[in-house]
């Protein structure tokens, strides 16, 4: 067990003589931790504290015919039964704070349940035991519905509809597609010219964040008609805004206190406990505690969702990756939570830390009848990195190249163009590979020990290849600065769209021309840079940003009655004008 600081690397980019930065200062919270006095949310005592427990679905998918709470209401210690009808705004999606996606999830379900463990009612009682006893006495009459648990089955025609807000069991991207696209160059042409093409399928399992402290909140009436909420949240204003929206109260009537949390790892963003505890507090006028037990934390609390990946790489015998194509399915479970955003982050990460001239990906956010997925350490990236790095190993072996040298050869460098069309800066992958190999005694050849993130990037590698058009030539239209009007005139998001170094208007060179598959030249790699590229008709890659055309907003697609077809333009997206970002922070209904 050793830790060494390689101060010799990138030394000229650092001033190592600061007063406090870089010092091994003791943690501000260490003394509280070792004396057991750090104030976690549950370390606040209230007289007359009530305890809330939820009645949960035993089925993957079912319609709620009726809920009989009469016996539970009469049980000792029971103060209040809470139903979906008691929730002022009983429909939300976590990312409505970013105006991302449609409200699709109730706090307490009223009509149907879409996963095992979904809450349909809550009991508030004097003791936790009494709450558990009363929960056991609630009778729910369910009509069991067919369910779907596999992402690809969920996308097949005729699959049960999991989430009514998304009738195809897939999130709508840009109100237009049922997946997020990434298109860079022409992977098919590159595969045709590659020496080897390697394919693979990868499956990431659902993973529990498993903080030792479970999710929970305690809410209590405060003076001046306000409510204080002690919470385990990882995102105080996220939870405050979500509670304000669901409960339809002004945000400044809520006083959230947290900040000392027993681990989160992404599992404490969903803000399920806070609104429920505050609602209980509103309904009873007393302090209410709503804490997941460990079983709830593991099976009802949202995990990192499963992901399925299909990868296809084209590679030359000298080790240069020339194309990478990915299709990904994120298992979002029954509701959206954060998977939809994870996919955008994932798309910005593809194809991993490598410079590949042709990249193509379609990533789907799929709804299935399982526990909704949420964030976890490595959000949106852990799964695809597992797929990419296992695949890198297979590709290296397929061409008989050392896996470390293979990675160094293809690593992105300062000045390279990434698939999302932004220049790579501040790179350090090559140096990490070199140092790790050195530590492990993994021999790599001198040429690869000499490579650097700071050298041999940019130039040809900074070029944006001509990108093949999708169905209906949509990209071509856009490049032509077409006449399409914004799909979302009111949306402020396009205003933030920076000048984009996208390929310019001229028609594509014929597929026979080499540029689409031009591999990234690497000075120390035994390959000459591709001759005579870019061709006359190719994009003015090096032109200054000012010269680059603004992309027009996406075209509005004509409605279509076609049945569901993956990677066909998505026709059923609903446009919701006037939804201001962060509007839910004010706690007012957005629609």
């Amino acid at each position: 067990m050793t830790v060494e600081f390689r101060k010799d690397l990138f030394a000229d980019e650092r001033d190592d003589n600061l007063n406090e930065i870089g010092k091994p200062t003791q943690r501000q919270d260490a003394l509280g931790h070792v004396t057991g006095r750090s104030p976690f949310f549950d370390d606040h005592l209230f007289d007359g504290l009530l305890h809330l427990r939820c009645v949960r679905s035993p089925h993957h998918h079912a319609r709620i015919r009726s809920i009989d709470t009469s016996r539970a209401e009469r049980m000792p210690g029971v103060v209040r039964i809470v139903r979906g009808q008691d929730v002022p705004v009983n429909l939300n999606t976590l990312l409505s704070l970013l105006d991302f996606g449609r409200d699709d999830e109730p706090l307490l379900s009223v009509e149907k349940v879409a996963y095992k463990g979904e809450p349909v009612a809550a009991v508030i009682a004097e003791t936790e035991r009494q709450a558990r006893d009363a929960v056991a006495a609630v009778r729910v009459d369910y009509e069991v519905l067919p369910h779907v648990l596999d992402v690809e089955e969920a996308l097949a025609p005729g699959a049960p509809v999991v989430n009514r807000a998304y009738p195809n069991n897939s999130f709508d991207y840009h109100d237009k597609y049922d997946h997020q696209k990434l298109r860079f160059g022409d992977v098919e042409a590159a595969f045709a010219q590659a020496d080897e093409v390697v394919e693979g399928r990868y499956q990431m399992s659902p993973i529990e964040q498993a903080p030792t402290e479970t999710n929970g909140a305690i809410a209590a009436p405060e003076t001046n008609d306000r409510f204080v909420c002690y919470t385990s949240t990882q995102a105080l204003f996220f939870s405050l805004g979500t509670a304000a929206k669901l409960l339809n109260v002004a945000s400044n009537r809520l006083h959230f206190i947290g900040g000392t949390v027993g681990g989160g790892f992404g599992g404490k963003v969903d803000s399920l406990n806070e609104p429920m505890a505050i609602l209980g507090c509103m309904l009873t006028g007393r302090p209410v505690r709503y804490v997941f037990d460990r079983e709830e934390e593991m099976q009802v609390g949202a995990p990192r969702g499963a992901e399925r990946w299909y990868l296809k790489d084209g590679v030359m015998r000298d080790g240069r990756l020339v194309a990478r194509k990915l299709t990904g399915y994120f298992d979002s479970g029954a509701y959206t939570r954060l998977s939809s955003y994870a996919i955008v982050k994932c798309t910005g990460h593809i194809p991993g830390p490598y410079t590949i001239p042709n990249v193509h990906s379609d990533v789907f956010c799929v709804f299935t009848n399982r526990t909704p997925a949420t964030a976890m350490r490595g959000f949106g990236v852990t799964g695809v990195d597992f797929a990419i790095e296992c695949h890198m190993d297979k590709v290296a072996r397929a061409i008989g190249m050392d896996p470390v040298e293979f990675r160094i050869l293809n690593a992105y460098r300062d000045g390279d163009m990434k698939a999302h069309r932004r220049e790579a800066k501040n790179c350090a992958l090559i140096e990490c590979a070199q140092v790790a190999a050195e530590k492990a005694g993994w021999p790599i050849r001198e040429a690869f020990r000499q490579m650097s993130s700071l050298r041999d990037g940019g130039g040809e590698r900074a070029r944006i290849p001509h990108t093949v058009t999708d169905e209906h030539g949509r990209i071509g239209e856009r490049r032509a600065g077409g006449t399409a009007t914004p799909a979302r005139p009111a949306a402020p998001r396009y205003a933030a769209m920076p000048p984009a170094p996208v390929a310019a208007t001229p028609p594509a060179p014929p597929p026979s021309v080499s540029p689409p598959v031009a591999p990234p030249p690497v000075a120390s790699a035994p390959v000459p840079p591709p001759a005579a590229s870019p061709p006359a008709a190719s994009p003015p890659a090096a032109s200054p940003p000012a010269a680059r055309p603004q992309p027009a907003p996406p075209a509005v697609s004509p409605p279509s009655a076609e049945p569901y077809q993956p990677s066909q333009p998505f026709q059923r997206g609903v446009h919701r004008p006037g939804a201001g970002r962060f509007s839910s922070i004010s706690g007012t209904r957005r629609r």
Partner: protein, 160 residues
């Protein structure tokens, strides 16, 4: 609901409290007498966050029926420090063995149970002693180092 009076010693001082039937020791310590240092991590006996010493032996307070500690001595992390920190507490700080800090009180008590019995444990004995305590942050290594470090300091003190 039936309630029973309960008297026991907590970190050396007498406590008297009423507990309802079925109440476990963890709840009684936290909500009954206000010692918040033992933590609820599972209520199943699988995480160790609620570890306390009863008559010197490590117990999971979530699995102890409160009334069974009548007249007995209970020690928690809140009672570890006197005028100065306990060597274990100091070693946990010096070795950066706490991150979120939620498992720390239970870890400290599991470690104290070991050092009270085996002042100079082997690494294997330390691993065994914290085998029932889950830590999600540290990867355990700094905790093991801290306990061995604390044992070393105590040994130093004894020989001095």
């Amino acid at each position: 609901m039936a309630r029973k009076p309960l008297q026991f010693t907590l970190n050396g001082s007498d406590k008297a409290v009423f507990v309802e039937d079925g109440r476990n020791l963890l709840d009684t310590l936290r909500r009954g007498v206000g010692d918040l240092s033992p933590k609820y991590g599972c209520g199943q006996g699988t995480c160790g966050c609620c570890t306390v010493l009863i008559d010197g032996a490590p117990h999971l307070s979530c699995l102890v029926l409160a009334e069974t500690v009548e007249g007995r001595s209970v020690e928690t992390a809140a009672g570890l420090a006197g005028a100065a920190l306990h060597p274990l507490q100091q070693a946990f700080m010096d070795n950066f063995a706490a991150q979120c800090g939620f498992c720390t009180p239970g870890m400290l008590m599991a470690a104290k149970a070991l050092l009270d019995r085996v002042p100079s444990p082997s690494r294997e004995q330390v691993v065994e002693a914290i085998g029932g305590n889950i830590c999600r942050c540290t990867g355990y290594e700094p905790i093991i180092d801290a306990i061995l470090d604390a044992a070393g300091r105590s040994a130093g003190r004894r020989s001095a």
